[in-house]
Structures are given as C-alpha cells and as structure tokens.
Amino acid sequence: MKLNVMIMSGFEDGATLTYDPSQGDGQQRGEIWQISIGRKEENDLCLRNDTYVSRLHANIIWKNSRWWLEDCDSTNGTFIENATNFFDDQPIKGTIGIEEEQLFRVGRTWLRIQVIE
C-alpha cells in the first residue's frame, strides 16, 4: 500500500507527495503506520511555506485498518470541512477518523489523502 497526499491550496497547491512504507517512509510500529506533518524539515510532510503550521502540527495514522488524523496540539489548529457551513471549518480535537478523498486543513493548507495499491 502507498499513500498519496495532495496539497489542495496555497503555495504548493496541486503538488502530490507519495509515501511508501516499504521504502521506509513515515514511522512504522507493527500494524501502525504514521506520517507526520509540520513546518520543520524533519517531518515526513513539510509545509515550510505556511506560517500558520506548527513545527509538528498533525499526524496521519493507519491503524485498525483505517485512516486517522491527529492534531498534535498545534497553535492554529487542524480542521475538517463543515457539512452545514462551508465557510466555518470545524476544528478537530485529538484524533478523528478520516476517509480517503476527504479534505482537511493544517494551518492554512488544505490536504487530501488517496491510497494507491
């Protein structure tokens, strides 16, 4: 399994990054696979051009056969789209389940995940 993360807004809008655990991308512990997102270069997904992103901002996690999004106590928050009001994004607390193709926002940058076999 490989994971594509597409950047959906901002300076790098349209860029796609591919992560493959068999190539050593992300961190793997048993059945759990984790990709870190943040402004610092050490992160698997580095958003260096968004000043609203914290140094370590969020994690995308594969666990119990599904995807999870975890906010790492970021300053400006991690958000998902709000079904009832498009302009009022919904902040997430802790960890929530996410689906493929679902958009989420880290700082000012929207992202989307997609699995490729």
């Binding site: 950047i7 790098e12 809008d13 349209g14 051009n49 302009f87």
Partner: protein
C-alpha cells in the same frame, strides 16, 4: 468582452495575489481575475446561476483568508496546479488551431481539472454539476453589445407615482422579467428594517394573458444572495404548504449593485395579494385579533415558534445588533498605537467604551468584516461568524481607500486602528434630541405622571446593564423581521410571509416583540396624537395591559386597537419559556424599541413613544417581572448586574 488573452488574466491574478498577501498565483487568483473583468464569460456564467461576480469573489477570499505580511520567497510564482491548468489550456487552444490561450480555454481547463479552490467554493454556493457548467463554458456566446431585451413596465392604479422606481431598480426589474414583453407593477409593499424595495408585479405574456402575480424584492446584491442561501438552509423545509416561496434563482446583473428575488404567491380571482399593513385599517379590530390568533399563529407556529427549545443566553448575544454601532471610527494608517490607547477585543468591556471621546485612538482586534460600503469608503465589523444578521458589537470604520486595501465579508481583521468619531451613547442621545424632548435627556428618569406611574427609567442611559444579564428563554426558527409589511393575506384570508433576509434560529419571542413595536407605530400612535403627552397617555394604557388589566376610558378607535395588542400578548404567552415569566419579553421590547428610535422612517410620534416604551419595559423588569425569590441556580445571576 470575447477572447480575453491569458496574459491579461495573469496580470489581474497577480494583483489579486498581492492584495491578499499570498505572493503566489493560484487557480483562485486566476478565477477572481476572470470574475473581475466586466462582461467576461466567467462572470456571465455565474449570473446564469443567479450569482453576482462580487459575491463569488467574496466567498473565495473568505475561504482562502489573507496571508501574513512576511514573504518567504521572492517573486510571485505559479502553483503546481496552475502549471497543470496552463498545459491543459494550451492543448485546448492548439486543438482549435490557436497558439494563444483565451479565457474560455482556461475556464474549460479548470472544469476539466476540478480540484481547485474556486471550484470547491462555487460547488458550496450551489453549482454542483460541473459537466453542465463545462458545456455552457464551451458553447456560450457572448455578444459584445448588452442584449437587454425591452420589457415594458406599466404601473397599476394602486401604485403611488410620487414614489417612482429609479433607473437602477427598473434595470433589475426588467432583467428579472426578461422572458416577458410587459409587466405591471401593482403596488409597493411597505418595507421594514432592511429598507429594501418590495413590489407586487404581474407579468404579462405576448398574447396579453396575465401570469400569476409575484412579490419582488430589490436590494443590495449581497443581501439578496444571502437571503437566497438563507432560504435554502433555514426556511425551505419549514414552510406550511400554502405560502410564499422563492422558486427562481435571484437575478444579479453585473452592471448593477442591486439584485432582485421573486416570491411566488397564491392569489385568488387575479386579485393582487395585500400585506397586513394595508389591511390594518380596513379590518375591524376584532377580526384582526382573531386572524392573528386563529390563522396566522397556527399556520407558521407549528413549524416555527411552537417548536421551541430551552435556550439560556446572555442578552447581548441576541440583542446588541439591534443597537447602533458601539463605535464609529475614522481609520488611522501607518501610525503606532500610543501606549494608553484603548484596545477593543473580546470579551468587550463596555464600561471602558463609554469613557471614550471624540478623537481618542482605538485599536480593534479580531473582529469580522460584516459589510463593505464601497461608496461610503467604510466597513462594518462585528463579533461573530460571517454574515449572521444577529452579530453583536458592530463597529463602523470610515475613511478606507479600497484601491489600496481589500476587505471582504467574513474576513477576520487582526488589527485595525482608528480615532473615535462617534460612540453608541452619543448616537442614541442624538436620536432622542431630534425628538425635541420636554424633559432632560441626560436625566436617569423620564417623568410620565399617568395613572399612578410617576416616572420611568431613561432607556438610553439604562439599557447597558441589561446587555450582560442572562435570559432563560427558548429558541426556534424565527422570521427575524416580523412586521405587518411582511405578512401577506392570501386567498380565503390565508397567511403568507415574505422577506426571509433575517430568518434564523433565535430567541422565539423576538418576532412578537418586533410585531408589537410595529403595531404601536402603525396602528396605535396615528390615532393617539403626536405630542409627548399623547405618548405618555399611551404608556399609561400599556402599563395597565402589562398588569393584565383592561384599561378603562380609552377613546375609540384606540380602545379596540389596544385590544389587538392584548390578543398579541395571548400569543406571546404561548411562546414564553416559563409560564407568566414575562421578563424575556420585556427585554426584547426594550431593545426593539431602542432600534425603532433610531429609524427615520418611523414617525415623530412613534419615535417619542419608543423612548417611553423602552423606559416602561425596563420599569417592568425592575418592578413587576423580577424573577421571584425561589430562584433555581440557573436564574440566580439573571439581572445581577442590572
């Protein structure tokens, strides 16, 4: 304007990127550049869907937000997605045998690619089928001449020709009925709070057959498009089977600041429908009372006011927006804030605000842009999300140069500095002075001297404390602007409502307080006289009514008109959160009367009465309707500060 070359679009996109402090060109900037070109294909297509270009631009800006001032890279590079789009657009141009990319190529490329921010925004605004839009983009022909078909506009006998429609209103009206050769404007409906133009219009087909009469509202483009959205989300599913509906998309021509919306009406014998205000003086008071209680309230009540849930709130959240701006500031640019300057941020400390004076420097932090008044060079800020009509703590900032600074509705302004031009207290005081008071307007009490009521509190000095108190009320879907001009009488005296610009979830009782204030102005004061003492006499009657007494010795027709208010109070009683706990109603009345006090459209007599109604309501809250001693913990802090 056909065939706009890509290089011209890119110039506009760079300017937009710069204004928003993004410093890169993304698809959103290209799309905004396309919308900003008058008569562009993109602008025309948005109008086909009833969306004004400015509205779409605002929505995109709101979704993106402004960037920070610091730049992390040089130049204004294109995003990877723009590079993809450029390739698709070049391919389309090449296929057509051109080596230059035009607007149409770029737009079709966006619709092929589909993942960009502006397409997500227009999807949220209701354009959900991109295949249809792509088809239109490919085949739409733009005429370089504006093809305004001529619609003949006649005026019915009920139309007052002293108040003719202006050129802009006629333009929008003709656009709305472009499918007809002729229309007849039957009469005006009296507007309310919004100052919009409301008309009853009969469209006439080429064979002179008349189609069903509709009500038309013409107003600022933002308000109309917001109302259409509000209708979709709050109103549509909650309407009784027989009532006014919005069925067509709004009409928002790009060469006008106005837009229009149609409400379908059901009429009988081709008689144009009439609003309750026109009927007030035709119907006998008894019939009016009965109609309100037995027809109007049950028709909408089932889905609206009777579906209320417990709702405890601090008064300012529901009622501050009725008052004038807490501050009007003159913008100050590029000057450091002096160390002793007042910083206005949430939670707002109003006591400090009251000590501000003309010329004092104030910084406002993290307020949201509510309205942009391009022609007045001003913006209105408030607390609360987006464009909710019930946002508290309005602040007006004047002297803005929109050529150098962009503001969009929904934007959170992190910091803006200005000098005080006027405070709310001053504005309210001026409104009272304009009524030539026969008492000292700076005094805490206003003499009344009727039927044992000696004085009432001066509402413009005493409303403050109320704003912080808590109300144990209920919330429900409310109309938000319930006055007789928005209540229509249909066939068999059925009840309709129009004008959903302020419909929302809110304090249930608000609609009824609004209606009572309207009736006092339109139905009571015209028969009572204009002087302060006439207003005082009415206050005497109202005090009796508040106490549940039937006031004696009132001359007709005032007597029967006040009986209508008694019926209205019977409806209010059904909407109270707790039986016979009228305090929530008097709070609503206080703020509704203060709002009407500042309206120039209300008669002098009406505004004089409003001062005293505000005072009487506060008097009732202090005496008769204070919460009883067996307070639950929930109500304990109610009115503590009051």
């Amino acid at each position: 304007m056909p065939n706009i070359p890509y290089r011209d679009i890119l110039i506009g996109a760079r300017q937009e990127a710069f204004r928003m402090r993004h410093f890169f060109v993304g698809v959103e900037h290209l799309f905004i550049a396309l919308l900003e070109i008058r008569g562009s294909l993109t602008a025309k297509l948005m109008q086909e869907y009833g969306l004004a270009p400015e509205y779409v631009i605002d929505a995109i800006r709101r979704k993106m937000g402004k960037g920070s001032k610091q730049r992390l890279w040089a130049g204004i590079p294109n995003t990877p997605r723009v590079k993809v789009l450029e390739n698709i657009a070049y391919d389309i141009a090449l296929e057509a045998g051109r080596d230059e990319v035009y607007e149409r190529d770029l737009l079709v490329a966006m619709l092929d690619e589909r993942d960009s921010v502006p397409l997500r925004v227009i999807y949220a605004l209701g354009i959900t089928d991109f295949d249809v839009l792509r088809n239109m983009a490919q085949n739409y022909t733009i005429n370089s001449e504006t093809q305004q078909t001529y619609v003949k506009v006649d005026f019915g006998t009920g139309f007052n020709r002293d108040e003719m429609l202006n050129k802009d209103q006629l333009f929008v009206l003709r656009r709305m009925f472009a499918d007809y050769p002729q229309i007849r404007v039957e009469h005006r409906l009296t507007g309310g709070y919004s100052q919009a133009t409301l008309l009853v219009v009969t469209p006439i087909r080429p064979d002179q057959q008349e189609d069903a009469t509709v009500a038309v509202k013409i107003h600022q483009v933002d308000s109309i498009l917001d109302e259409a959205q509000r209708y979709e989300s709050h109103v549509k599913a909650k309407l009784p089977p027989m009532t006014a509906r919005i069925e067509d998309k709004p009409t928002a021509p790009d060469s006008s600041d106005l837009a229009g919306i149609k409400y379908t009406l059901i009429t009988q014998d081709n008689q144009p429908p009439r609003d309750l205000r026109a009927i007030l003086n035709e119907w006998e008071a008894g019939k009016l009372s009965q109609w309100l209680k037995e027809t109007f309230f049950p028709t909408f009540g089932r889905m609206w006011w009777s579906q209320n849930r417990e709702f405890r709130f601090q008064v300012w959240r529901e009622y501050d927006w009725l008052l004038p701006p807490i501050l009007t500031l003159e913008l100050v640019k590029d000057k450091p804030l002096p160390p002793n300057a007042y910083v206005l941020r949430m939670p707002v400390k109003r006591a400090k605000l009251n000590r501000l004076d003309f010329g004092d420097m104030v910084a406002v932090e993290n307020f949201v842009v509510q309205k942009v008044y391009a022609e007045r060079h001003a913006i209105q800020l408030a607390v609360g999300q987006g464009t909710d009509s019930a946002s508290a703590y309005k602040i007006e900032i004047r002297g803005i140069d929109f050529n150098t600074d962009t503001y969009y509705r929904g934007e959170v302004v992190e910091n803006i500095i200005g000098t005080v031009w006027q405070t709310r207290g001053q504005q309210l005081m001026n409104a009272v002075r304009a009524l030539i008071p026969d008492f000292d307007a700076h005094n805490e009490k206003i003499p009344v001297n009727v039927d044992g009521l000696e004085k009432v509190p001066n509402p413009i000095l005493m409303y403050e404390g109320l704003l912080d108190s808590f109300v144990n009320g209920t919330s429900a879907t409310i109309h938000g602007d319930l006055h007789p001009g928005n209540i229509m009488i249909g066939p068999k005296e059925s009840a309709f409502l129009i004008d959903f610009a302020h419909t929302r979830e809110g304090h249930t009782i608000f609609d009824w307080a609004t209606l009572e204030i309207s009736l006092l102005n339109d139905y009571i004061m015209p028969y009572a006289g204009e002087s302060w003492n006439d207003a005082r006499r009415v206050i005497g009657y109202l005090q009796k009514l508040n106490g549940g007494e039937i006031p004696a010795d009132i001359p007709e027709p005032l007597n029967s008109h006040i009986a209508v208010l008694r019926s209205l109070r019977d409806i209010v009683r059904k909407c109270l959160a707790n039986e016979n706990q009228w305090s929530e109603y008097y709070i609503a009345l206080t703020f509704c009367s203060l709002r009407a006090l500042t309206w120039e459209t209300v008669s002098l007599a009406g505004r004089r009465l409003m001062v005293l109604v505000g005072g009487l309501s506060i008097h009732e809250l202090r005496t008769r309707f204070r919460p009883s001693d067996d307070n639950t913990e929930d109500t304990e802090d109610t009115y503590r500060s009051f």
